[in-house]
């Protein structure tokens, strides 16, 4: 099995690339590959725990009916999926600490605080690295 590192930069709700990147992470874990994610810049907002669902005033649907997706829940689900059990890979998710401090997104649903040293180590031990960068 391989070890893959994904570098993310986009904020939640900002681009389809966020969804694509998380889909790639999920597929890799299900295929049994270990996955490292380094969330840089606005991507540290992906697991930010204070995200809240909202109703849709146009449709008149409430929070429950709307089922508004929250990136923090997606990241938490990936962390649960990436437990290394039943043939799945392990996920290690690191949020750039400096980026977190700048944005005040300290409380997260999953992952840990880290820095460029973690990214360097991820790259050194990875079969491949894919940067899904901001445009």
């Amino acid at each position: 099995m391989a070890a893959l590192t994904f570098i993310l930069e986009d904020a939640p709700y900002s681009a389809a690339r966020v969804v694509s990147a998380l889909r790639l992470v999920e597929a890799a874990l299900r295929a049994g590959h270990d996955v490292n994610v380094f969330a840089y810049e606005n991507a540290v907002g992906l697991p930010f725990a204070a995200q809240k669902p909202h109703p849709n005033l146009i449709k008149g649907t409430g929070v429950e009916q709307e089922g508004h997706p929250l990136p923090k829940d997606w990241v938490a689900a990936l962390a649960k999926l990436g437990d290394g059990n039943e043939g799945r890979g392990k996920l290690e998710w690191v949020n750039c600490g400096l980026c977190v401090d700048e944005r005040g997104t300290h409380e997260v649903s999953a992952g840990r605080r880290g820095g460029p040293k973690d990214l360097a180590e991820f790259i050194a031990r990875s079969t491949n690295v894919l940067c899904v960068g901001t445009r």
């Binding site: 391989a2 597929a27 890799a28 299900r30 079969t127 491949n128 899904v132 960068g133």
Partner: protein, 109 residues
């Protein structure tokens, strides 16, 4: 030989950078490298047979394998019967297979 995986997420009718990106893929293929162009998100707009994109023929002539993400196709209502003959719809797992091959160099646009 290396295997280059170009992941294209941008709409070819909206982003001129997609042409430059495809030209890089074409150039590498003409140098004899293995090249896969993976269309995802709005990049799959290039997969429609009726889309007027001359670069598509150049990529095929150069030997570039062009794949389109099936979920992105479904989201945009692009059915199998509408695909250009050179484009193969594939699940995302294929991209993971390529990434898991240490010989693959991947770029996301």
């Amino acid at each position: 030989l290396a295997h280059y995986l170009f992941i294209e997420s941008q709409d070819p009718f909206e982003d001129a950078g997609t042409l430059a990106y495809a030209e890089q893929a074409e150039a590498l293929a003409r140098e004899g490298e293995r090249v896969t162009l993976w269309l995802i998100e709005n990049g799959v707009h290039a997969a429609r047979a009726k889309a007027q994109l001359p670069m598509r023929e150049r990529l095929v002539a150069a030997g570039v394998s062009v794949l389109a993400d099936t979920m992105s196709l479904r989201e945009r209502g692009i059915g199998a019967g509408e695909l250009h003959a050179s484009i193969e719809p594939r699940e995302l797992e294929r991209a993971i297979d390529l990434l898991a091959d240490g010989g693959t160099k991947a770029v996301f646009h």
